[in-house]
Amino acid sequence: MTDRIITYSEAIREAIGQAMEADPNVFMLGEDIGIYGGAFGVSGDLYHRFGADRIRDTPISELGIVGAAVGAALVGMKPIVEIQFSDFTAQAMDQIVNQAAKIHFMLGGELSVPMVLRAPIGSGTGAAAQHSQSLEAWFAHVPGLKVVMPATAQDAKGLLLAAIDDPNPVLVLEHKLLYKTSGPVTEAAVRTPIGKSHVARTGKDLVIVATGVMVSRSLEAAAALSEKGIEATVIDVRTLSPLDMEPIEEAVRATGRILLVQEAPKHVGFMAEVSARLAEGKSLYSLEAPIKRLCGMDIPIPYAPQLEKAVVPQIPNIIQAVEDLIREP
């Protein structure tokens, strides 16, 4: 099968469709995923293809829904839960963290929870503080969960398929601003491996490590920087837990400079971990400049468009940060 240019949303929908065709135990559970087609239109026509039983609309009960997915997974189903906004994982934290993440270990290893939880993250839609968070750090901190953040349409499909295969609970955090972006996606059900960081661009002067929508912003920044003679390697972390540091460390050894970019607030965010891993290993000695983080400000996401833009990294901020970093002694 071949590649076509489709959107990130379409790629997710295609993955779910292929998984549901291949395995009768796969089903979807979520608010307004049926005839409405999903708050962001992701489930689309799946309801018409698979029916109300397997594309199962629910009441507004996030804790109940996730718990039901845990229970179904325990007895052999493979539920995919859609949480309308990742902010509402707050409602379901007990089932995600105290149940799903711990059951396999805590109950002695016989049972497991092959559940996928999809949730849109991020700001940029004018939806304000309760609908715009990037909470990946919470989940990455919880042993027993796997956390992926697809940055391209291909990975939106591939990581989701891998997540569905996985016998463990996997959170797939999708960035809202990516849903309508397009890219080449294989028609075949090709998996993107969970647990591998991806080198999206190679350059000799520094390495930019990014997640989610910051990957494409970093690539655009890198393209602009290239015209100024600065060549950046860009690494898409893709899986936040378990984290693959290998290509990041290699790139640091090669370039000596690193910029870490995330949308989430800086304080105790995911990129702190990447930084800490570098600082506690041999890579430390390859650094020619301090490790730089460019993150969201430690502020709830505001509503006004100019404020919303101001609190998370934009392409010019990345370019600026790289230029500053290159200038470091």
Partner: protein
């Protein structure tokens, strides 16, 4: 100068349609909600407003009839579909509009938008972007009244969908066991986004759920401002007398989609049309004219007056300064008096 409708406070319990003053205030309130939202709808359509928007057009009798049972000093908590509640409690239309237009003069200084309008001066503890998020908060504000020994009550608005959240259950139970002065007003517009109450629950009425908490539950024709007022007034009196919460269910309907992205696939055109024939404003207007309380001309004059207020809100808000990024970082925490 404040650009508000003057909400009714301290009304005596008689039907709102019975006297010219109350009829006028009720009509003005409902028209203000309608026209505010129609204006917002059009600003949005013309690309002059961003984000998302949840309109309560068709539900005006619920907000205005319920708020009419309150005193100025009482509190409300509201929802994502909250413009009516704000206006009903006496919010400044210009500051509301400014908020939606992301202006520094808006209720939230442009930081919150439609889903987060709050107004301490009118006792509005805030709209909420989280379904059912305001329900425990209302219980807590009511607990505070009880502990302080005030006679203020809290009116808590939420939708039918919200009653499926655990927050509803826990909070209503707390209010019940502690006899808190709170009125739970469920605006049952038949859908939580696309999911109908027929599918989301097996009971016929939201009010049936009161049985689980040992409190009274009442189902009301929510498009009849008089009926809403009567039920809420009873509930307010109960609450103020220390007899605890009531669950009031206003049966109503939203004419517009859930939000801007709604294609209305989950309901029929006929259903929407049917409900448009039950327009709460037309219903109330006809009644007061029939009763001879107001004339058609008087009603039209009220509408014209409101139109002027809405127009003023837009022009004043549009020329206000945009919200200011410079003050953001210092706004996350309230500063400690005298420093820490």
């Amino acid at each position: 100068m404040a650009n508000t409708i003057s909400p009714l406070f301290g009304h005596n319990g008689a039907p709102l349609s019975e006297s010219a003053d109350t009829a006028r205030a009720t009509l003005a309130g409902m028209l203000a909600v309608r026209q505010f939202e129609e204006a917002v709808d059009s600003l949005f359509a013309r690309g002059l407003m961003h984000g998302t928007m949840h309109l309560s057009i068709g539900q005006e009798a619920s907000a205005i009839g319920a708020c009419a049972a309150l005193e100025q000093t009482d509190f409300i908590t509201s929802t994502h579909r909250g413009h009516g509640h704000c206006i009903g409690k006496g919010a400044d239309l210009t500051r509301m509009m400014a908020e939606l237009l992301a202006k520094q003069t808006g209720y939230c200084r442009g930081r919150g938008g439609s889903m987060h309008i709050a107004d301490a001066s009118t006792g509005n503890l805030g709209a909420n972007g989280i379904v059912a998020g305001g329900i425990p908060i209302a219980a807590g504000a009511a607990l505070a009244q009880k502990m302080k020994g005030t006679d203020r009550v809290v009116m808590c608005f939420f939708g039918d969908g919200a009653t499926n959240e655990g927050a509803f259950h826990e909070a209503v139970n707390l209010a019940a066991i502690w006899d808190l002065p709170v009125i739970f007003v469920c605006e049952n517009n038949k859908y939580g986004m696309s999911f109908s109450t027929e599918k989301s629950m097996k009971v016929e009425h939201i009010a049936d759920r009161a049985a689980a908490y040992g409190i009274p539950g009442i189902t009301v024709e929510g498009n009849d401002a008089d009926a809403v007022y009567a039920a809420c007034n009873d509930a307010v009196l109960r609450a103020r007398a220390g007899h605890g919460p009531t669950l009031v269910e206003n049966i109503t309907y939203r004419w517009k989609g859930h939000s801007k992205s709604d294609k209305n696939l989950y309901r029929t055109k006929e259903e929407i049309e049917d409900w448009k024939h039950k327009d709460p404003i037309v219903k109330f207007e006809n009644r007061v004219i029939e009763l001879g309380v107001l004339t058609r001309e008087e009603c039209d004059a009220i509408a014209a007056d409101i139109r002027e207020k809405i127009r003023a809100s837009i022009s004043e808000a549009t020329t206000a300064p945009d919200s200011d990024p410079a003050e953001l970082l210092a706004s996350v925490y309230r500063a400690i008096e005298g420093g820490n």
